[in-house]
Symmetry: C2
């Protein structure tokens, strides 16, 4: 990305092993993330000298490994997290690989909207599938790399589970997969907040039992109406704006759990409202690596189909068109084939 | 309280049973809370027509009960929460009595810096002790009413427990009893942040293993030094200012838990810092009622001595002097005897 709105597919230096813990993979598929729209829309700075290396969701085949890589082999089909992690430090062992002491974002450093990519800490970042996947599994495995893993973390952070009413703020791919995650985690009732018919339909397909079209204070009031005036036990926030956060806080009952995974932009949380809301708040960049083995397993056994969030597929060379389609909300999520 | 700095002991209408769920108690002891200093210092408005009825921490003997009160009897010695609760609604049953559907703050409505008080929802708000307490137990039982219960909630919200390093921001009575709670909950290491020798000594007496005198960014850096650069697993925030909250957030490791119980004043939490900190945040007005049976039991068996936070005792008639002493930090906490 050269500037807001300016995405180009250009030749870059070919990736190669630098550290002994690296792997080089050939991308089978990659995609455009909702978070890629922040710089595309000018809401995040782009360094004019360096451009911004785009892409952080990826599946592919390992072509080379460094001397110290032990669990990943050449020829493996792998899914990787959008954050590099060693998966051995104390923070990783506690399940927070996205805050690993060696954490680095793939976005801006590796850039997986590409044909090949060098992945640092391959053992700690990548997970191999049981074998070469059927082609129809590729979108779902790709989704695990971020958008499913992030929705899943939102649902886990919101403590979605049996007997719980879960509300989901945001009907982008992450919110929709938050619905799927809440269903998989056993939630009793799942309220998707969406005003777009196609997204409502997908939400219902993923397990939403109720749809709320209102937003802001009206959305909060509607959630309260649906929950005996108390609010939802669990709320997943998947947008990252002031309005969406306040809507999510207001929709959570006292003692309930808000899992927020929308990348926060220009948000200021009023301390007193948060204090007197008495909710649990947890979120941040999803530790996808924690969930990857389980998510791959569920996909491999065809229990879940998160790949349905991809409603447009383009060759990598047409990436710019993909950005446009997502920016204009013509597509929920765009899969790119190198 | 007639105005900031203006506390008067005056005659009020004698409390009597109004609702069938009420009890009227004769106060054995009451006290001044750190939160009472907010209006005293002009940081909270005081309605000039109504004055502000002060006092929300209380122990005493039941003198009258309404027709529907079943678990509390005339003659019982009782400890009450600083928030009225029915203890039967869905929110109460989930352990959030401070957000009961019938919740009301004792502060400003009942005002227990008095000789007698009408306590609504007596069954849900009050807990009787096993018998009439020895006089030396009174301060500790009184502490359970708020300051211990609040410190305890902070430690529970911060998930203090075995193997955990706990940092405590704030060396007021709540922070000090957060230290005690963390010890009781089995924390391995407890770092008290304090620059006052007498409070440091009390913190050590309650179980602090380390003292950090630095504040703000320097305080955060010191906590990181003491925790392999990672931050504490659990942080209890017991102040309620912007600086203390940011200090607490910065001191918590990714995936760690911040329990915040200092009443929030003019705090704005930056969404992006909170997001990327990846911590758990939980707090608010403590659901003391949840903890009261356990706390009374620990005090009754003389396992804990939270009453040590009271370092000044005055007759109720001298309440104004008590406020002055706490405002000037000459006293940590003032016990008042009606």
């Amino acid at each position: 990305m050269y500037a807001p709105g300016d995405v180009r597919v250009v030749d870059r230096e070919d990736p190669r092993i630098i550290e002994t813990t690296d792997a080089v993979i050939r991308l089978t598929a990659t995609c455009i993330c909702g978070s890629d729209l922040w710089p595309y829309r000018g809401a995040e700075p782009i360094d004019a000298d360096r451009h911004l290396l785009m892409g952080h969701e990826y599946v592919g085949v390992v072509e080379e490994v460094g001397a110290d890589v032990t669990s990943i082999r050449v020829g493996d089909f792998v899914v990787g997290s959008f954050v590099i992690s060693d998966n051995t430090c104390e923070i990783c062992r506690a399940g927070y690989q996205s805050k690993c002491v060696h954490a680095d974002f793939v976005h801006g450093t590796v850039g997986t909207q590409s044909e090949r990519a060098r992945i640092p800490y391959a053992d700690g970042t990548l997970v191999a599938t049981p074998g070469m996947p059927d082609d129809d599994l590729i979108p779902s495995l790709l989704a695990a790399s971020d958008v499913l893993g992030t929705g899943w973390f939102g649902a886990v952070a919101a403590e979605a589970g049996p007997g719980k009413t879960v509300a989901v703020v945001g009907d982008g791919a992450v919110g929709l997969l938050g619905v799927l995650a809440a269903r998989e985690l056993g939630a009793e009732r799942i309220i998707a907040m969406s005003r777009h018919a196609s997204r409502q339909a997908l939400a219902r397909g993923f397990g939403a039992t109720d749809i709320v079209t209102e937003r802001g204070d009206e959305g909060v009031a509607r959630i309260k109406e649906l929950t005996d005036g108390l609010g939802a036990h669990s709320v997943i926030e998947a947008v990252g704006t002031q309005e969406s956060m306040m809507q999510a806080i207001g929709s959570t009952r006292p003692g309930g759990h808000l899992g927020y995974v929308g990348v926060s932009h220009d948000v200021q949380l009023p301390g007193d409202e948060l204090f007197f809301s008495e909710i649990h708040l947890h979120g941040g960049p999803a530790p996808v690596r924690r969930f990857l083995p389980d998510l791959i397993d569920r996909i491999w056994r065809r229990e879940i189909d998160p790949g349905r969030v991809f409603d447009l597929e383009l060759p990598l060379t047409d990436a710019a068109d993909g950005y446009k389609a997502m920016d204009q909300r013509r597509a929920i999520k765009v899969l790119l084939r190198p």
